[in-house]
Amino acid sequence: MTFLAKPKLHHPSAPTNALGLTRRDYEGAISTLCAGCGHDSISAAIIHAVYELGLPPHRIAKLSGIGCSSKTPTYFLGTAHGFNSVHGRMPSVLTGANLANRDLIYLGVSGDGDSASIGLGQFAHAMRRGVNMVYIVENNGVYGLTKGQFSATSDRGSKNKKGGENVDSAIDLAAMAMQIGATFVGRSFSGDKAQLVPLIKAALNHKGAAFIDCISPCVQFNNHVGSTKSFDYVREHNEAVNMLDFLPDRREITADYAPGTVEVVKQHDGSLLKLRKIHQEYDPHDRVSALGYLQQHTAAGEIVTGLLYVDPDAQDLHDHMQTVSTPLNALDDAALIPGSAALAKLNAALR
C-alpha cells in the first residue's frame, strides 16, 4: 500500500462486515477533487456497496481513463490495484485485464468526456462484447478536468457557466448501452445514495456488462442555473422507474407485497434484485419497450433513473469465447507450451 494517506486507526467498536473488515478498509487516499463534487459521493457509494457486500477489496481491479472522474479510483479501495490509463481507453484496458484473469471483479470508472466523446467507440464495443464488469460513468455534462467545456452528454440548450448554449444533441449513454448489448443498465444520481448503492451492489453481482450512468454534478463548472446537470435541475427532473433492493440471498425476503408492485429477479450468481415498481408499465426485462420508454420520457425532459434493464441470465465474454475456467494468467508452462515433440511433428509437415 503505497498511497494511503488516511490514518488507519480503527475505532475499536467500528462495525465490521462478513470479512471482519471495517468501512475504513475499503477507503482510499483522501480526495483531491473540489469540495462538493458529485464524484466524491459516487466514491462513497462504491465504498459503501463493496463494504456491505463483504467483497475482499484486493480482488477488485479498478480501472479508469482520464478526467476528474477517472482520478477517483485512488480515493476508494486502497488495497486494490488500480489503473489510470489514457483518455477514453479504459474499456480496452479493462477488457484485456478481464481476459487475463476472469476471477477478479472489474470496476471501470469513467467520465462523460472520457466515455461519450473520445472513448465512445471503446465504450460501445466493451458493452457489445459483454465484458464482465461494472462500468460507471460519472456524468456531469462537462469536461471538469480541462475546465468546463461542454461534453457529448450535455443536453442541447444547456448553458455553460458563461451563458453559452450547447447546440449539439446529447448522447444518452444508458440508452446506447442498452441498445448495443449491455445486460445490466442503470441510471442514478450522485445525490441519491439510497438509489445508487443498491444499483452498484446489483451491478457487482451481475455477470456480463453492467453499466451505470450516474449523474454527478460538477460544482465548479456545471452547477449553475441553465445547466441540466446541476444538483437542483436533476432533483427536480429525476423520475425513478423503480426502487431496487439488493439481497445477497433469498432468506432476506421477508415482507409480503401487494401483487404487481414488487418483482424479485434472480441473477446468475443467486443474488436477488427486489424491484419495487414506481412506474407500473416499465418493464426492465424488455429491451425494446424500455428503450421506447426512455426515449419518450427523455424527450419530455425527464431524467429517467433506476434499474433500466437487466438480463439476469446473461453470458459474458469468456462464455462467448469458450475460455478455460482457470485464469489465463495462472496457466503454467506445461499448459502453454506445446513442447519439442509437437514442434518436430510440425517441422516434418512443413517439408
Partner: protein
C-alpha cells in the same frame, strides 16, 4: 541465343487475382524443393480482392540465394491484362509460356514462345466453370513439369499430401496434372534450356511464411491474449496464432481454450487490451502494420512509462499513410524505436526469416516480462507473407518462461519491501505485483503520470528525473538480453563493412558473394535488435566506412545508429531501396561497388603497396 541454366533461374506467374492460382503455384514451388533444390517464392499482389493482377515469382537457386533476383527467365503469362508488360519483362533469351487458345502474334523474336491451348483443353475436359478454372492451373503445372524436368512422382506425391483429408480430390487433380504434362511432352519442345535437376541442397529446412512462424512462436512464448485489427500484411499472423491455439491450446476434455483472441474495433483498442492483459499478468500481443503503429502511439508511451509488458508485431508495408499496402518496406524503424510522445526508447527486434520470426516471437514475451516494457518485432511483407526455406523450429523442453520480476503473496509476507518503481537490483528494473495478489500488501496505482518509487503521484522534478534516468538504465540492461548482432567477416578482413537487418539478409548474403567475385571484400554485421549492442559500435569503429543497407527512403536505421552511438554520419553510407519490391543483391552490390570504386580514385588508404 536461348537461356541455358540448371537450377538457377526465375519463373514468374502472371495470374488474375481470385483465379485459384495460389495453390497451384505453391505446388510448383514445393515440387522443386522436394527435388532438393532451394526455391524462393514471392507473392506480388495489388491491394484488391478479385479480378486484378497478381504475380508469383519463384527463384530457383541451387546456390541457395533466397533474395529477390530481379528479371524473369520464364514467364507463365496467364493474365491478358498485364500481357504486354509481362512479355516485355522477360530476359533476352528467355521463355514465354501462355494460353494459346487465342494465338498471339508478333511476339518478341529474342524469346522462346511456348503456347498451349489451356482454355481449349479445359473446355474439352470439364463442363463445370469452376473446375475449368481450377484445373487449368494444375494443367499448367503439369506442362511446366515437363518443360523444366520436374519429376512427376514428386508432384503427384504432393497432390496426395495436399488432399489427404479430401481423398476424392486426389485422382482428378493428378489427372489434370498428367493432362498438362502429357500435352507438353507431345506438343512442346521439352525439355527447354531451364532445367531442374535433383540435388540434396534443401536438407532439413522447412518451408513456411514468417507470419505463421511468429504466430507459432507466440504460442511457444506463452502468449494467451491476442488483440488485433485486420490489416495487410499482418492479418495472417493473428490468424496463424488462432490456428495454432486451436491445435495446441484446446483442452482435450472440455474443448475450452487456453487463450483469448479478440478482433478489436481498432488498433487503439488492440494495444489497450494487450496492455490491460499484460498488466494483469497474462502474456499478450497484437499484430499490425504501419497505420496501426501510428494509432497506438499514445498507449505505447503509457506502456513505456508505466512499465507494462506488451508485444507488438509490426509487419511493415510501404508507407507513409496507406502508402502501398501490399508492398514491402522497412519503414517503421523510427516510429517503433521512439514510439510515442516524450522521451521514449523502445525495444525492437529484427528477424531475418521465418526461423527467427519464431525464435524472436517466443523470446519477445520473455523480454517484455523481464524488461517490463513494449517489445516490437519488426517483420515486413517480404518475410511475413511469403513462404521461405528456413532452419527448422527448435524448442528446448528444459526452457521455462521468464516472467521477470514479480512479487508473490509469499514474497510480500516475507517482509521484502515493495516499491513498484524502486530499483533494488541496480539494473533499472523494479518489481511488480499482479492485481489481486495479497489482501493488504503490494497494491499500487498504475498511471501514466509521474510518480515516485512507491507509485505515488508526484510532480517533483527531481523524482521525475530520477525515474527517467532509471528507465535509461533499464534500456542499458536490455542490451544484454536482446538478440546479439551477428558478425561475419570476409576471410582476409575488410576495410569496409556493411550493416543490414531483417529481410535484407538473403540479398546481402548474395551481394557479398558478388562483390567478392569482383575483388571487393566486405565485413558484415546483421543487427538483430535495438538497443544496439556494443558490438555494433565496435564494428563501425573498426572499419573505414560502413554501408547501412535498408529498405526505406530515409535511412532510418542509419539515423538511429548515428543518434544512439554518436557516430560521425560521414562514416555511414546509405544503401537504400524503397520502391516496394524486395531489395536485390544486384542493387546492393552495384551501389557498394560504385562507392568503393569511386573512392579508389581518391584512395582512403594512406600507402598503396
Amino acid at each position: 541465343m536461348s537461356l541455358h541454366a540448371i537450377n538457377d533461374f526465375v519463373v514468374r506467374f502472371a495470374n488474375v487475382n481470385g483465379s485459384g492460382s495460389a495453390s497451384a503455384n505453391q505446388l510448383f514451388a514445393k515440387s522443386i524443393l522436394r527435388m532438393g533444390v532451394p526455391a524462393t517464392p514471392r507473392n506480388i499482389f495489388p491491394s484488391n480482392i478479385q479480378g486484378l493482377p497478381t504475380w508469383y515469382e519463384v527463384r530457383v537457386s541451387e546456390a541457395g540465394h533466397m533474395g529477390a533476383r530481379g528479371g524473369t527467365d520464364l514467364m507463365v503469362a496467364m493474365n491478358p491484362q498485364t500481357w504486354d508488360k509481362d512479355v516485355d519483362s522477360i530476359e533476352p533469351g528467355g521463355f514465354l509460356f501462355y494460353d494459346s487458345t487465342k494465338p498471339a502474334r508478333d511476339l518478341r523474336s529474342d524469346i522462346t514462345v511456348l503456347g498451349m491451348p489451356l482454355t481449349d483443353i479445359c473446355n474439352r475436359a470439364y463442363s463445370d466453370a469452376r473446375q475449368r478454372q481450377l484445373f487449368k492451373n494444375i494443367i499448367y503445372v503439369g506442362a511446366l513439369s515437363a518443360l523444366l524436368g520436374i519429376e512427376s512422382e514428386v508432384v503427384e506425391t504432393l497432390l496426395a499430401e495436399q488432399f489427404k483429408a479430401k481423398e476424392k480430390l486426389i485422382a482428378p487433380n493428378v489427372a489434370a496434372f498428367r493432362l498438362g504434362r502429357d500435352y507438353a511432352l507431345e506438343h512442346l519442345p521439352c525439355p527447354i534450356g531451364l532445367q531442374v535437376q535433383r540435388r540434396d541442397k534443401v536438407g532439413d529446412r522447412i518451408f513456411i511464411d514468417g507470419n505463421s512462424a511468429a504466430g507459432l512462436g507466440s504460442v511457444y512464448g506463452g502468449a494467451t491474449v491476442c488483440a488485433w485489427y485486420p490489416i495487410t500484411p499482418s492479418t495472417s499472423l493473428a490468424e496463424a496464432f488462432m490456428r495454432y491455439c486451436k491445435r495446441y491450446r484446446t483442452d482435450a476434455d472440455t474443448g475450452l481454450g487456453r487463450h483469448a483472441i479478440i478482433q478489436a474495433e481498432d488498433e487503439l483498442a488492440s494495444i489497450g487490451m494487450v496492455i490491460g492483459a499484460s498488466w494483469n499478468g497474462a502474456r499478450a500481443f497484437t499484430a499490425t502494420s504501419g497505420p496501426g503503429i501510428s494509432l497506438m502511439q499514445e498507449f505505447l508511451g503509457l506502456a513505456y512509462f508505466a512499465e507494462i509488458p506488451a508485444v507488438i508485431f509490426d509487419v511493415q508495408r510501404a508507407g507513409p499513410s496507406t502508402g502501398m499496402p501490399t508492398r514491402t518496406q522497412q519503414c517503421d524503424v523510427m516510429a517503433c524505436a521512439y514510439a510515442s510522445h516524450g522521451d521514449t526508447k523502445q525495444i525492437v527486434l529484427f528477424p531475418e526469416d521465418p526461423h527467427e520470426c519464431f525464435e524472436f516471437a517466443a523470446q519477445s514475451f520473455d523480454l517484455a516480462d523481464r524488461l517490463q516494457t513494449p517489445v516490437f518485432v519488426l517483420l515486413d511483407l517480404d518475410i511475413g507473407m511469403n513462404e521461405r526455406l528456413s532452419a527448422p523450429f527448435a524448442w528446448d523442453d528444459a526452457r521455462t518462461l521468464d516472467r521477470g520480476k514479480v512479487m508473490t503473496a509469499e514474497d510480500l509476507d516475507s517482509g521484502r519491501p515493495f516499491g513498484r518503481y524502486m530499483d533494488v537490483d541496480g539494473d533499472g528494473i523494479a518489481y511488480r505485483t499482479y492485481p489481486g495478489t495479497h489482501p493488504s500488501k503490494g497494491a499500487f496505482f498504475t498511471r501514466g503520470t509521474s510518480r515516485d518509487e512507491y507509485a505515488k503521484y508526484t510532480e517533483d522534478g527531481a523524482v521525475y528525473q530520477r525515474n527517467m534516468e532509471r528507465l535509461l538504465r533499464k534500456f542499458e540492461t536490455a542490451k544484454q538480453h536482446v538478440p546479439r548482432p551477428v558478425r561475419r567477416d570476409a576471410p582476409e578482413g575488410a576495410r569496409y563493412g556493411a550493416i543490414y537487418y531483417g529481410s535484407t539478409a538473403p540479398a546481402m548474403d548474395e551481394a557479398v558473394e558478388m562483390l567478392a567475385a569482383d575483388g571487393i571484400a566486405l565485413d558484415l554485421m546483421r543487427v538483430r535488435a535495438f538497443p544496439f549492442h556494443d558490438d555494433i559500435n565496435a564494428f563501425i569503429a573498426s572499419h573505414d566506412r560502413v554501408f547501412v543497407v535498408e529498405q526505406n527512403r530515409d535511412a532510418q536505421l542509419r539515423t538511429l545508429l548515428i543518434n544512439e552511438g554518436d557516430i560521425d554520419p560521414a562514416r555511414l553510407i546509405r544503401v537504400l531501396h524503397y520502391d516496394g519490391t524486395p531489395i536485390t543483391a544486384r542493387l546492393i552490390s552495384t551501389a557498394i561497388a560504385q562507392t568503393i570504386n569511386a573512392a579508389k580514385i581518391v584512395p582512403l588508404r594512406k600507402a598503396v603497396p
